[in-house]
Point group: C2
Chain length 373, copies 2
């Protein structure tokens, strides 16, 4: 959807098709650089990723190529396919550059984290019953549940293998880190599945602290791992590896918070999902939890609406979104993301990164809050 189309969008309460959190304006200055950085990192990683996927048997390899957005479900190259923006691979490469190594040093890490990300989306979509991923049928919808389980297992195994076979004496520590991250991801997904079962209100209600813990496992662990592995393969001291891990974890929680903003107020042309999607599905997102953590009439009306059996569709969903906003949930989420990004920046500064890599990382971090990528 282009900008002209946006101006003809219905009033904000019904379908605020702007960037999340604030009205449509010119893209923030970091966005163009961040887009270029991500593209450079994708280009650097792609041959190694193609090479890794080429080691799979043809059948799981075809499912992997679909999941990565390279091919359609029949195996034909798909120019419309999107494999995501590659934030994780970029973090791995930029971390290596930040500690004075070449990005290429971190390629096995970039491949591993991208494969883990693809695997976890693939299996999560089965668990969540999510029929769509990046505007196409999820792998389980395209190939069936059984084959999708297998394709995920293949990507999981291939990720470990890619890193385990990395040259150099730092590969074993990197593999240990990745294996801890893989168990953390499972914990995050388990937390997430249970989190969705908690009530909206009352003593057992889902809270912001539990949300942060879940987001750190579910999203932060892999972003932290990506940054840490890049530094590890880049030969950095352990303190630097740990600091970059922390930077990635903060980025992960920020990323998840922004994802939640996009899940309610994001442009469907950007997210590939209907407007207010996360509200329609009654997902326990940060904006809603933050709104419920407050007080006032909007909070009370929102709580009553969520506790009711009323389907959150159309105008009701738009009204719920407005209530979240009025109760301060949208602003609190931007503030949370912003604070997490500041913490990430502090961690990055602490490792005294190589200046060129620092600029690229800054652009990524700076573009995250208003990301259009």
């Amino acid at each position: 959807m282009n900008r002209a189309a946006r101006t003809t969008a219905p009033p904000a309460r019904e379908a605020p098709l702007t960037l999340p959190g604030h009205p449509a304006t010119a893209p923030p200055p970091d966005t163009a650089r961040a887009t270029a950085v991500l593209a450079r990192c994708r280009e650097l990683t792609r041959p190694a990723l193609v090479d890794a996927v080429g080691r799979l048997d043809p059948w799981t390899g075809r499912m992997a190529a679909y999941a990565l957005g390279w091919r359609d479900a029949g195996g034909t190259p798909d120019p419309q396919g999107s494999g995501g923006k590659g934030l994780r691979q970029a973090l791995a490469l930029l971390s290596a550059e930040a500690v004075g190594a070449t990005g290429a040093t971190a390629l096995p890490a970039a491949v591993a984290v991208e494969l883990v990300h693809t695997f976890s989306l693939l299996h999560d979509d089965i668990m969540d019953g999510d029929p769509l991923r990046r505007r196409r049928p999820a792998v389980w919808r395209a190939y069936g549940v059984g084959p999708a389980v297998l394709a995920g297992d293949a990507l999981h195994a291939l990720a470990v293998q890619s890193l385990a076979e990395a040259p150099g004496d730092r590969a074993p520590a990197a593999v240990r880190h990745l294996s801890r991250t893989l168990t953390a991801l499972v914990r995050g997904q388990a937390d997430d599945l249970r989190f969705e079962e908690l009530p909206w209100t009352g003593p057992d209600a889902a809270g912001l602290a539990a949300y942060r813990a879940m987001a750190e496992h579910k999203t932060g662990a892999l972003l932290g791992c990506a940054a840490a592995l890049g530094a590890e393969l880049g030969g950095a001291p352990q303190a630097t590896v740990a600091e970059l891990d922390r930077a990635g974890r903060h980025l992960g929680v920020a990323f998840q918070a922004v994802d939640d903003l996009l899940g309610i107020w994001g442009d469907p042309a950007l997210t590939g999902k209907p407007v207010h999607n996360d509200l329609r599905q009654r997902k326990k997102t940060y904006p809603v939890l933050a709104a419920l953590a407050g007080a006032g009439p909007a909070r009370r009306e929102l709580a009553a609406l969520l506790d009711s059996d009323k389907p959150l569709e159309g105008a009701t969903a738009a009204h719920a979104a407005a209530l979240v906003d009025e109760a301060g949930g949208r602003a609190a989420t931007r503030a949370e993301a912003s604070a997490q990004l500041d913490s990430a920046r502090a961690c990055l500064r602490a490792v005294r990164p190589d200046p060129a890599a620092a600029r690229d990382l800054d652009a990524l971090v700076g573009s995250l809050l208003d990301r259009a990528w």
Copy 2:
């Protein structure tokens, strides 16, 4: 079912409730020793396995404890539960002993291969739609498909982590080996799923060579890995590690062939599945493929029966089993298993194993063809 009950079993064509391949006799001499060896290895591994599973979050940990046969689906300790006989953990420990190390040296390997085995059964049951595992509902039946996918992922990740954190300078090579095995297992499962789609007869028919390749990936790779990892952590030279890997692969193909005999002629009290189960399900097992590879009237009648849409139930299944036997499929499978076991023995002899470990390994290998475990 006890021996007295067996003597009252219906005629062999209908339900030959004997050990597979030959009539009921006294247990072969190796069986008692093999049973004791397996019990010793299970006892040695159990605390380390409990410790590893204790690192999972409570929810996936409960599913893992169910899958391992330790607890029932509600989390209560289950004295009836069976986690299998532990052939893989035994191979890891005995291999370490065979190369002069203590069994304890190989505990991280024993834990890893047992977790991988449990993970792969768990996910395979989802893919195959198998509702039963070891006489209890499969994990996906007990907890749902989504949670079962997650439990498998948790065991997969935990297996890698357990080995990656093993002490000593041989752990990295062990992890590389395990990661190669994990991709091989996926390939084996992919082969298996596609193998079942092949026609019984004609130019594209499933053949014995393809069967062996599939069995080597699906079963041999992990048994070979178990033996190799035990030797690796035990500090053996690479040639010894490779030879023990080969021994395990031969054992794996033999194990799969015997499994196929049990799947048709096994005692349901032993297998936990109905008599002729694999025939009823039209599984492409070695005995059937070997029967079809021959000639003569039994082979022709069997091919016609399999190519028909006729359900293979009751008397028809029993008749099909008799035809497989008459066409030489049962004898050929015993011969195949026997030859694979001889190859395994040759590999084991080649590494000049420690005498006590050699006796234990011999007992395991010797009991495999007529295994009642």
